[in-house]
């Protein structure tokens, strides 16, 4: 095992982790902000991917990147209207209605786009490879990792440095209080929700060229996102970030050393974290 | 109503810190078997927290509690309850969606050790015992009502009934007469006291209404800012200058 190979695999892991974070960020916002366990975001991710496919056929990749997530966010907005009566109900109802929504959207995508293999046409300069440490890294891969980094930084900036970010954080930590402050929480929830969906849609658009676009795979994607969130701590974006990196690296090394076993690692990690530290690595114990 | 002289509940240096706030400060309490003890003190004195710690609803920062001599500090709440410590809460903890009858019945099922009985018919089990208790608390006519729809005073009575079904030796009550009319409050306290006599219960109750305190307690313990200031008979407490100073400005009936 050469050190260069190990380092390479580590970078693949970090890259993979960044991508996982990208996918998980949207879920994280919605779950933290709204205490809404939400099974529909895998579907939004896949919808983003499909939007990318269609839009990049009609226009080009960059327009897809711009409009795709917005389109998904619109669908998300409609969905939120459906979910509104449920914010005070028990979790089981939330779970089930988001599942129902997921089923509906997944089959909707199936009906509209069909099941043939879809390939997204990338602009040429993204479709090349570049040698790093003796291995050919696909340029697009680097693009995605960079994009994730930018988004992660942007999110951090937004939450820590802007007013709306501060309000979001307040809602996450104590919603009824924010209600009392005269802020229109209902409107903000809708914005938060749309933003979360937008992020997942964006992740879908970005990932479209390199994953198999398959509506039926939405739930699997959701579960890997959930694993990351549980490990990091459900209400913690920072936790999601580091957990994503952790899972990415473990997956990368796992696939190298334990190919049979490594598919089990995320679920096993999730179980271990839930048993030992249920609030997640970065989460806070409630009460 | 004097006790047998045995100490039924003892706390040793019980202390609870919430961060830098010391809610309960080295409380050493001794309750004699059979007595009726009131714990009084201004708001924030740590009375409810003390009861929480004794029943292990909340863990003490340090200190120990002993029930009949055995250390119950680290026992889970259900074990402490099974030892014979009953608790009524400020906000009644009932089975809101079940009937009055069923509420008491479940307590009887637990006491009668039939919790894991999956074979017998559950509807009428312990009917006699349940009716006995409903009679004692005067709620027989309401047996079929849903507990969640009862008036506040009735809910408190029901909670007393549920707790008594467990035949506890020690009953801890958190402001039993808060929120009900004076007359209802006296009814409740008389009920509790007569049941205590019947079943040789020891009673510890937190109370703000001094009428109730002086009328029904054998002894009174005063807490302030987490500390146990003094314990004495109603006359002792009435004449105690420090206690009066603590309560200066408060309504004493």
């Amino acid at each position: 095992m050469e050190p260069a190979q190990l380092l390479c695999q580590f970078m693949v892991g970090v890259g993979g982790g960044m991508i996982l974070f990208l996918m998980a960020a949207g879920v994280s916002i919605i779950v933290s902000g709204m205490n809404l366990i939400n099974f529909v975001q895998g579907a939004f991710f896949m919808l983003g991917a499909l939007m990318c496919y269609s839009l990049s056929q009609v226009l080009n990749f960059w327009w897809a990147l711009l409009f795709g997530p917005l389109a998904v966010a619109c669908v998300g907005g409609f969905a939120e209207l459906l979910l509104r009566p449920l914010y005070r109900k028990t979790m089981l109802y939330q779970l089930l209605i988001t599942m129902g929504l997921a089923f509906l959207i997944i089959d909707g995508m199936d009906a509209i786009w069909g099941r043939e293999v879809k390939v997204v046409a990338l602009p040429d300069y993204l479709n090349t490879t570049t040698p790093i440490l003796g291995l050919d890294f696909p340029m697009y891969y680097i693009f995605i990792v960079a994009a994730s980094g930018v988004i992660a930084a942007g999110l951090w900036l937004m939450f820590e440095k802007t007013r709306i970010g501060m309000i979001f954080r307040a809602i996450i930590s104590n919603r009824p209080m924010v209600d009392c402050l005269g802020i229109n929480v209902t409107l903000l929830f809708s914005i938060m929700f749309a933003f979360g969906v937008w992020l997942s849609g964006l992740a879908g658009v970005l990932m479209a060229p390199i994953i198999g676009i398959d509506p039926q795979g939405s739930m699997d994607i959701l579960f890997s996102m959930m694993t990351v969130l549980v490990i990091g701590g459900i209400k913690s974006m920072k936790g999601a970030f580091f957990a994503a990196l952790l899972v990415g690296v473990i997956n990368a090394f796992g696939s190298m050393f334990l190919p049979w076993f490594y598919a089990l690692i995320p679920a096993a990690l999730m179980i271990i974290v839930l048993l030992i530290r249920p609030q997640g690595l970065f989460g806070e114990k409630e009460g | 109503m004097k006790g047998t002289g045995q100490v039924i509940l003892r706390t040793v240096d019980i202390t609870k810190d919430f961060g830098s706030l010391r809610a309960v400060d080295r409380v050493n309490l001794e309750i004699d078997e059979g007595e009726v003890r009131a714990i009084i003190g201004p708001n924030g004195a740590g009375k409810s927290t003390l009861l929480d710690i004794v029943t292990n609803r909340s863990r003490p920062t340090f200190g120990n509690s002993y029930f009949r001599g055995s250390d119950i500090t680290n026992l889970p709440p259900f074990a402490i309850a099974a030892h014979g410590v009953g608790r009524c809460f400020q906000v009644s903890k009932l089975f809101a969606g079940l009937t009055v009858f069923e509420n008491v019945q479940i307590a009887c099922i637990s006491k009668g050790r039939k919790v894991y009985n999956i074979i017998s018919a559950g509807n009428r089990i312990f009917e006699i015992e349940v009716n006995g208790i409903l009679d004692a608390i005067g709620m027989k006519a309401m047996a079929g009502e849903e507990a969640g729809y009862l008036s506040y005073g009735d809910q408190r009575r029901l909670e007393i009934g549920i707790t008594l079904a467990m035949k506890p030796s020690l009953l801890l009550l958190d402001e039993p007469t808060a929120g009900v009319s004076r007359a209802e409050g006296h009814d409740l306290m008389q009920l509790i006291k007569s049941l205590a006599v019947d079943q040789n219960l020891t009673i510890v109750f937190i109370e703000h209404d001094m009428d109730m305190v002086f009328k029904y307690a054998d002894r009174i313990s005063v807490m302030h800012l987490g500390q146990l200031i003094t314990t004495g008979t109603p006359d002792d407490i009435r004449g105690n200058a420090m206690v009066r100073a603590i309560y200066l400005g408060e309504q004493v009936a």
């Binding site: 459906l82 009566p85 449920l86 979790m91 089981l92 109802y93 779970l95 089930l96 209605i97 599942m99 129902g100 929504l101 997921a102 089923f103 509906l104 959207i105 089959d107 909707g108 199936d110 009906a111 579960f223 959930m226 694993t227 049979w260 076993f261 598919a263 089990l264 679920a267 096993a268 179980i271 839930l274 048993l275 249920p278 | 029943t55 889970p76 709440p77 259900f78 074990a79 309850a81 099974a82 608790r87 903890k93 009932l94 089975f95 969606g97 019945q105 479940i106 099922i109 637990s110 006491k111 919790v115 009985n117 999956i118 017998s120 018919a121 559950g122 509807n123 089990i125 549920i162 467990m166």
Partner: protein, 309 residues
């Protein structure tokens, strides 16, 4: 005795349904009676889920894992182990019992949200194991050759067997729910803390409920394997877990036969819709949304008692 029977609504419903179903199956063409068989097995599956839902704080998000476990245990013992039918059945149940107790113990270590997530996580884990452990489970291919009971031959005979087993299970579940144990279950659903202050170890109690519930889910899985004569890893799928929960919701979680009715609806919709469109799961999703937003408690829902019909 007969008087009591007539006045006992759910019992009367159950018995008459059984009689009607038996007669129907005798006279219906084969694929229709297979439909009823599916409905029966899924009714048992959904009812097993509802045992936990009615028992405070337990949301079994991954019940399909026990459905699949039962199927795999039975299938592997009989097909790969060459074990004769009755022993295969017995040991499959034993294995399911232990698995249920172990997984339940771990799931109950934290609070109710942790329970739900752990239940789901175990489901995900077991699905991966089933998919990857190809030497044991044949992975995505699955395996065939699962035996049916030899006593009464033919499809009608198998149907009667399923009916009998499901009936026995329903009677057992009914007995449990209407026993003192069942009363405590209701109390636990209403106020877990009060249960603890009545001297009851709520975690241990929940473990017992969980074990029963998982065992009945495993039974339904075994029956399904027999019906399909094969075992695939889709038997453990998260989609099936979700469908199980949906059956409970659609039919009503606060009544005994609610989940069964939900199961019947889901199976019928699935069977009919899948002949017309590939997107029948979407239709299911739509039904769920309507049910959650529209009815407050499902078709039979409303009154909280699990004892009424």
């Amino acid at each position: 005795m007969v008087q009591r029977l007539i006045h006992n609504k759910p019992l009367a419903f159950g018995l008459s349904a059984t009689v009607i179903l038996t007669i129907l199956a005798a006279f219906l063409p084969e694929h229709r009676s297979e439909l009823i068989t599916r409905m029966l097995i899924m009714a048992l599956f959904a009812t097993s889920i509802n045992m936990q839902v009615g028992s405070a704080g337990m949301m079994p998000l991954g019940q399909a894992q026990f459905f699949g476990l039962g199927a795999y245990a039975f299938g592997l013992l009989c097909v790969k182990g060459g074990v004769p039918f009755p022993y295969g059945l017995f040991f499959a149940l034993l294995i399911s019992l232990f698995a249920g107790a172990m997984i339940g113990y771990l799931c109950l270590r934290g609070d109710s949200l942790t329970f739900a997530l752990l239940h789901l996580a175990f489901n995900i884990l077991l699905v991966s194991v089933a998919a990857k452990w190809i030497s044991l489970t044949e992975g995505d291919q699955g395996f065939t050759g699962v035996p049916r009971p030899g006593l009464i031959p033919g499809d009608f005979g198998f149907y009667l067997f399923v009916l009998f087993v499901v009936l026995v299970c329903f009677i057992l579940i009914w007995t449990i729910i209407n026993s003192p144990f069942g009363k405590v279950m209701q109390g636990l659903r209403e106020n877990e803390e009060r249960i603890r202050f009545l001297g009851i170890d709520s975690k241990r109690f929940q473990l017992v409920v969980f074990t029963f519930s998982s065992l009945f889910a495993s039974v339904s899985g075994i029956l399904w394997a027999m019906m399909q004569r094969s075992v695939f890893n889709t038997y453990m799928s998260l989609i099936l877990s979700a469908e199980g929960l949906m059956m409970c919701l659609i039919g009503g979680m606060s009544s005994f036969f609610g989940p069964s009715i939900g199961a019947a609806i889901v199976v019928i919709v699935g069977t009919i819709a899948s002949t017309y469109t590939r997107q029948w799961q979407g239709l299911l999703g739509l039904i769920i949304i309507i049910c959650v937003l529209g009815f407050r408690g499902g078709i039979l829902g409303g009154k909280k008692s699990t004892i009424g019909l």
